[in-house]
Amino acid sequence: MATRLDLDLDLDLDVFIGPFDLLLSIVLREEISLLEVELGEIVALYVTRLEEQGELELEVATEFLVLVAALLELKSRLMLPGAEDDLSEMEPAEAVEELVARMLEYRRYRDAGRELKDHFESQRGFLYRSAPLPPELRRVEVETAEKVYEPEQLAAALGDLLEPPPRPDLSHMRATVSLRRRLSAVRSVLMSRPVFDFDDEFGSEDRMTQAVTIFALLDLYKKGEADWEQSESCGPITVRRSQAGQAGLAQTA
């Protein structure tokens, strides 16, 4: 593969302004310590350049990134406490060897990858069958079959089916209360007693029935059949048959 190593990148760092490959040679000659070089900034610059060229696919390794990654590893080894003694003695030549080895290793897999990619293309015309086995081959043969299931499972299943389902739970559904029925309930009380206390008559009903009964009272008030009063909030309600209601009640009765 005749691709030349591409290290063209102009840098503008605190410690260095100039092309990346120049910085690299300087570092490798130990004129600048790797510890002073902001590798992160270099990567950021590189990514920006890729982006400008419309080639931003970070999963695509390039030799440039392989090199920076290798430098990063060297640098992190330099930063490890204790490790410094060994590494400070690392000759520039050794660092170069390590970098070269890394670059060559990457090239090997890059080239192998290219070949695999071509090979993949050349093989894509072969298609394989993917069909389930015919049913007769998926089944247990009668002759060799052994007992694996308990008949009691069937007896239990049938028992479940014989059981009528539980009555549906309707508690979540609101019972309906008829306003018409509440009207006639109030009227019939008013027939027997011209004045009564609401709680005495309807206090034992459920909340919904009580509420609809209040509506019925409102209706009777509107029609002029009944009056009612409540002297204090939440206090007792006194219901009274009104004069005008006499005739109506008589009719209803």
């Binding site: 298609l127 069958r129 993917s130 069909a131 389930p132 086995l133 015919p134 049913p135 007769e136 081959l137 998926r138 089944r139 247990v140 043969e141 009668v142 079959a145 052994e146 007992k147 694996v148 299931y149 308990e150 008949p151 009691e152 499972q153 069937l154 007896a155 239990a156 299943a157 049938l158 028992g159 479940d160 089916l161 014989l162 059981e163 009528p164 389902p165 549906p168």
Partner: protein, 190 residues
């Protein structure tokens, strides 16, 4: 074999459904008559006894199948008989077929209160139940198979245990059926 016949063989090899000659013609972008000729050539090549594959016409289409001669060897090589635990739906369906057989498919659905197609399908495929004809209305009627008795260790259908939770009065089978249907109707209403 000419190129088109080879192509037809490829297509039938890859498809696990029957393929019509029209579909083959469209896929190969040739006239129907040419496909028909190619199929005739392939049919002659794959005449029984010539190869390990045979060409079959099924439901208006063509399909390749293995020669039945190799079934025993195929079973030895490939067959991994599966006896997974029964799901609740399968157990219920199988119980209905076992206790009431022969029983029509709509009746199974009425008793369970839900359509039981997938359970019936998997039980048939596993060979635990089999079709025993059609009802007057054309519905498939099922009964258990000899394999059923073996995998449940039953010496005949009479050896099925009494349904559990079923009150011990000596109800006849007819009554069980009615009670099942009655309970099923309540289930499907609920």
């Amino acid at each position: 074999m000419n190129e088109l016949a080879r192509k037809v063989e490829s297509l039938l090899f890859l498809s696990n459904q029957p393929v019509t000659e029209m579909a083959l013609a469209e896929a190969c972008e040739v006239e129907l008559e040419l496909v028909e000729e190619a199929v005739a050539e392939l049919e002659a090549e794959l005449a029984p006894g010539r190869r390990g594959l045979i060409l079959r016409r099924v439901g208006g289409g063509l399909i390749l199948a293995s020669d039945p001669e190799s079934e025993v060897a195929a079973r030895r090589l490939l067959s991994k008989p599966r006896t997974p635990p029964l799901t609740q739906a399968q157990a219920e369906t199988l119980a209905i077929v076992a206790y009431l057989q022969p029983v029509a498919r709509p009746e199974i659905a009425r008793i369970r209160g839900v359509s039981s197609e997938s359970a019936v399908g998997s039980l048939s495929e596993r060979g635990l139940i089999e079709e025993a004809g059609r009802s007057r209305f054309g519905a498939a009627i099922y009964r258990t198979s000899p394999l059923f008795e073996k995998v449940f260790g039953l010496d005949g259908i009479d050896a099925l245990p009494d349904p559990t939770r079923f009150d011990p009065t000596p109800d006849d089978e007819r009554e069980i059926r009615e009670r099942l249907l009655a309970a099923g109707e309540q289930r499907s209403e609920a």
